[in-house]
Amino acid sequence: MSKKIVILFISFSSIFPIKAQKLNNQKFFADSLFASENYFDAITEYKRLQFFSKKNGKYFESNFKIALSYKAGGKYDNAIKYFNLAKRDAKLLEDSIQIDLQIIRTNILRRTIPEALFLIEKFEVKNVGRIDTSLINYWTGWAYLVNDDWESASQEFSKIDKFHQLKMLSDSVFSAKYSVPLAKFISSVLPGSGQFYTGNYWSGVFSLAWNLFGGYLTINAFLTDRTFEGILMGSLIWARFYRGNLTNAEKFAIKENNKISNNAYKFLMEKYLGEKP
């Protein structure tokens, strides 16, 4: 009789380890795809893992990995959806903190900066005393930085360290930038001067020349009592180039500013070694 029970026990208990074993293999497979940056297939295999471990309810890790895969593939909406699903199943406090941070970082990457800032604020209130405030400053700084708001970014990073690498970078970018309203204003007073201010000398010279020419034609026509031609010259030539001068002053200032920002972004993307969103 005891023999029978032993056999019965062995045969029944062996069912479960095998299934768990298979799922472990599947998890290993999915993880290896994830590790080799084969994210699309990794998602498939994590989904398969979820499908066959339905009753276990262990979705936290696989959902988290799916979210990270989507994030790595630049599919930020999906990433956030799966981070939220993972958060639902997270049992440990650390895990949900980790996920909250990931959602914030994904929002920064998605350039939904207002949402990122809102979530950071919520996160800070929720975890008072539990986390290092420098963490909050760091990601707030990054949110501003991606939003091309270098002044605010500098303020945030300086809260961590007055000589923080990103603070220095933000300061240098901010001080190198041109003022767009100034460029437009000086160009409205003296056509071409805004272009000179942003270093586009040839454009400035041509703009000035066209405006002088258009102005001469118009004023000359009025002075010689050719009112009708004066209106024509004024509207078709002078006004056209004066407007062009203003838009160019603005355009160049924005363009140069973007160049400055993009240089900094290039550095962040290629050479910066700290943590990135």
């Binding site: 023999k3 029978k4 056999i7 045969s11 299934k19 498939t44 398969r48």
Partner: protein, 303 residues
């Protein structure tokens, strides 16, 4: 009742006689589920791949579902599965691939009729109207004249091609009563499209801008009139004041805008016609899509 009792009595006897043999038999039965489990428990078995594929299909994760289905299908052909693969492509709007997958059904297949319908639907949605018309006409159901759905789809698609329409009463008769009015309107439009004549526009634009106004471009017409008039006035004025150089410049500009006005009136009318044709065809497409191409739709588990 008697038989059962009899059976249990005999079993009890058997147990008493040979318990060691029994233990072996019992252990075999106990192990049987284990063996089955290794079959079932294999995540990559056909059955499980199919189950996972169906799950993905219901989640609208069609590209991944196709992968699963195809792995199962390679080993043994299955109509439903093939249909699901084709439908996955169809729902992802990959109409070319969907058509090729629906094409794989042979007339012997149990789902041939459905696949044929889906082929027509695919061709309609990918705007391959002429090839859809040919396919319908070559279909056995069409020659048998027993499929009113096919006839309706064929007729409606003819509004979108240059095919010659049948007689009006015949054209409308196959539709439901509620659709007859709108199809009658469509038919009339197709027979006598309210196009405007570009040549008339060009002639009208002898008076600058009038051709543009005819082509429904009133703003352009007024602009054209003002520009041509302005430069003509200036030219005349200069000639009167004996300022030859500027007079000729203004004459040139005047001629430039005047000839542009005639040319533009012609093209504006052509574009007007293209516009009303586009709107008409759009209405037809919306109508046919609302009726789901008149074809019955297949139902799936998760729909």
């Amino acid at each position: 009742m008697f038989q059962v009792n009899n059976f249990t009595v005999r079993m009890k006897k058997f147990i008493k006689v040979n318990s060691s043999v029994l233990s072996i038999i019992f252990s075999f039965f106990a192990l049987a589920p284990l063996i089955a489990q290794t079959e079932n428990g294999n995540i990559w078995s056909d059955k499980n791949r199919l189950a996972f594929g169906n799950h993905l299909f219901c989640e609208k994760d069609y590209l991944r579902a196709i992968d699963e289905f195809q792995c199962v299908l390679i080993k043994n052909w299955n109509d439903t599965l093939q249909f699901k693969i084709a439908t996955s492509y169809f729902r992802m709007k990959h109409y070319d691939k969907a058509f090729n997958e629906f094409e794989k059904f042979t007339p012997n297949s149990s789902m041939y009729l459905q696949s044929e319908n889906e082929k027509f639907r695919t061709l309609f949605l990918s705007e391959n109207y002429s090839s859809m018309q040919n396919k319908i006409k070559n279909s056995k159901r069409y020659s048998g004249n027993n499929s009113i759905e096919l006839l309706r789809l064929l007729n409606s698609s003819m509004l979108l091609t240059n095919a010659e329409l049948p007689q009006k009463s015949k054209f409308i008769s196959i539709y439901e009563n509620e659709d007859k009015n709108i199809l009658s309107e469509f038919y009339n439009w197709k027979e006598n499209p309210p196009y405007k004549n570009p040549t008339i526009a060009a002639i009208l634009s002898i008076i600058p801008g009038l051709g543009k106004i005819y082509a429904d471009e009133i703003g352009d017409g007024i602009t054209s009139f003002v520009l041509t008039g302005l430069f003509t006035y200036l030219a005349i004025n200069k000639f009167q004041n004996n300022q030859q150089t500027s007079a000729w410049i203004y004459t040139g500009l005047s001629a430039f805008f005047y000839s542009g006005n005639i040319y533009g009136s012609y093209t504006a009318t052509q574009n007007y016609n293209a516009g009303i044709k586009f709107n008409f065809e759009n209405e037809v497409k919306i109508f046919v899509n609302d009726r789901n191409q008149f074809l019955p739709t297949p139902k799936f588990l998760c729909d």
